[in-house]
């Protein structure tokens, strides 16, 4: 097993829901309540030392009980290793801890996840839409139940007749 994953498994007896390694990428899935604690460990532990945030992303699994998956990816500039941190969020209680207090770069990235997938981040300093307009009320575009062609008032447009020449 990947030495980083081994270390995490030894440190956290509860809260780690899954460890995976595929194509050289190490990924750890944690329960939602332990997320901030594990993230703090990744950031501050000298053996981990993940000082660089790569991206924050989200995946929608409509058939699962806990529908959304939030994904953070970290890199350590000094140790030169990377890890993926994942957690699952149910649709009924779509809130997860924000990691902006540990990585300032998470601010815009988490706003994008909120904008695109509708996942709320607890303790985020400025949780607003970022790419879609502020007054956009038609839902969250990257959810799987959002149609590719969009929805809302554009659907009600009539087709114009061809203008006779």
């Amino acid at each position: 097993m990947h030495p980083l994953l081994q270390r995490i498994q030894q440190t956290f007896t509860v809260g780690v829901a899954g460890l995976a390694e595929w194509r050289g990428d190490a990924a750890v899935t944690v329960t939602r309540d332990k997320l901030h604690e594990v993230a703090q460990f990744l950031r501050n532990d000298p053996g981990m030392d993940f000082d660089y945030i790569v991206h924050v992303s989200s995946v929608d699994w409509p058939d699962d009980e806990e529908r959304f998956e939030v994904v953070w990816e970290f890199y350590s500039i000094r140790k030169r290793h990377r890890i993926r941190l994942k957690t699952r969020v149910p649709e009924s209680d779509c809130v997860v801890d924000s990691l902006t207090d540990l990585w300032k770069g998470a601010d815009f990235m988490e706003r994008e996840v909120f904008d695109m997938m509708g996942i709320r981040f607890r303790n985020h300093p400025d949780l607003r839409r970022i790419l879609m307009p502020d007054d956009y009320t038609e839902g969250y575009p990257l959810r799987k139940d959002f149609p590719l062609r969009g929805k809302g008032w554009r659907d009600t447009f009539d087709f114009l007749d061809e203008v006779p020449r």
């Binding site: 194509r23 990428d25 790569v54 991206h55 994904v71 970022i130 307009p133």
Partner: protein, 414 residues
């Protein structure tokens, strides 16, 4: 007179004056100013709401999304091959590097080996693209700051390379030359000659660009000590590329996680000290020299060989066979319309584009289409640090700061 606005302050002109009570009062308040969305220096359509105290920036709030086209949603609807032209439209100034980053990510997902000659070709073209990107940046940044001549010099030389791209793949900007498993076609002898000629012509030109700037009082005044970000903050904000290296952090994926033909080339990564706009400029100019060095080494080391991996279930057949052979045509048609069967799993693959780390996070559940494709766009992440970097500087520095990120809104808003 009472002012309702909390931020309003009323000053006595001179409180020490014996007749202070009867003197008139002065009122100051913060001013909100919209920069953009239509502004020549915003490199696209970007609005920044600036809170000003006099001419100083107190707080700035970027408003983005004017160029949002839902590329990540579109990716879920098409096959892996069909997404390549979409990547051209992310950072439309440097399409080749987007193709490269995407193809590398898919190859990592498929665990596909690319033939050696294709790796060299990819490195050569990527470095040519880096030269174009830095020329474009230098010209546009100098223009934003007020030096017009550099713009003409940079764009004159950029045209030569765009014409070279045109001969290579038939398009100047939206190239789509990279393919999953290799590249679309080999370099012809005429293209190699032209590239060698260009490199000889280009080296003295880099010095020429610098003549205009390195001793230019206005340029130095407007870049030195402007928008300083410490190494610690730059790392914490997730900045990458020349912006991060300008703060003295030696982080370059070409060295850290070597890919393609980079490990076979000798080159150095310039690293700045002060973290100001000047250092970011200096790094980009030094990278032009390094790119020339890398291209020359690749041209020397490159051996004859195939330019596309031979995995018929994934990679496209050669064009000659498609036009002459029915089976190859069916294979090409099926690969584009239905795609190949990707293994279920998820990967992240980052590539050092000239702006910074351009990464693709792909989740696959099997089948021909990505289940989820997330683009880590450096421009977007750099904008996250804008407020932090702009505080305390002047309005005119705002354009310098997002100029120094080499921001392109097509990539920022996706």
């Amino acid at each position: 007179m009472a002012f309702e606005d909390q931020r309003t302050t009323v000053y006595k002109i001179d409180p020490e004056h014996p007749e202070s009570e009867s003197l008139p009062t002065l009122r100051t308040e913060e001013l909100l100013l919209n920069l953009g969305p239509q502004h020549p220096s915003t490199h696209g359509v970007l609005k920044v709401i600036l809170e000003l105290e006099g001419e100083r920036l107190v707080k700035s709030t970027p408003v983005m999304g004017y160029l949002h086209r839902g590329v990540e949603k579109l990716a879920e609807d098409g096959t892996y091959h069909q997404f390549i032209p979409h990547t051209d439209r992310l950072d439309y100034v440097c399409a080749m590097y987007n193709n490269f980053a995407y193809c590398r990510a898919v190859e990592k997902l498929l665990n596909l080996q690319v033939p050696e000659r294709a790796e060299y070709l990819r490195t050569i073209v990527a470095e040519v693209q880096r030269i174009i990107g830095h020329q474009f940046w230098l010209g546009a940044q100098a223009l934003d700051i007020g030096a017009m001549t550099v713009f003409f010099y940079c764009f004159r030389d950029r045209e030569i390379l765009l014409d070279w791209f045109n001969e290579l793949c038939g398009a100047r900007l939206t190239t789509s030359w990279y393919r999953i498993g290799g590249v679309e076609r080999d370099l012809t002898p005429s293209l190699i000659d032209k590239l060698k000629q260009f490199l000889d012509y280009f080296l003295p030109k880099i010095d020429e660009y610098q003549v205009f700037l390195e001793k230019n009082r206005i340029w130095l005044g407007r870049t030195k000590g402007v928008a300083v970000i410490s190494a610690e903050d730059a790392v914490n904000f997730g900045l990458s590329g020349p912006v991060l290296r300008g703060s003295g952090v030696d982080y370059d994926l070409r060295k850290y996680e070597p890919y393609s033909a980079y490990p076979k080339c000798e080159f150095s990564v310039p690293v700045g000290k002060n973290g100001d706009t000047y250092d970011r400029y200096w790094i980009r100019v030094m990278e032009l020299y390094e790119s020339v060095k890398i291209i020359r080494q690749c041209l020397d080391q490159m051996q004859e060989g195939p330019v596309m991996a031979d995995v018929p279930s994934v990679t496209l057949p050669p064009k000659e066979r498609v036009f002459t052979n029915l089976e190859s045509m069916i294979q090409q048609f099926k690969l584009f319309s239905q795609g190949f069967d990707a293994p279920p799993g998820e990967i992240y693959c980052g590539t050092e584009a000239h702006k910074g780390e351009l990464g693709f996070y792909i989740v696959s559940t099997g089948g021909g289409k990505p289940y989820r494709l997330k683009i880590r766009a450096p421009s977007f992440i750099h904008m996250g640090a804008f407020d932090h970097m702009a505080r305390g500087y002047m309005i005119s520095d705002a354009c310098t700061i997002f100029g120094s990120y080499d921001i392109v809104m097509g990539e920022c808003d996706r």
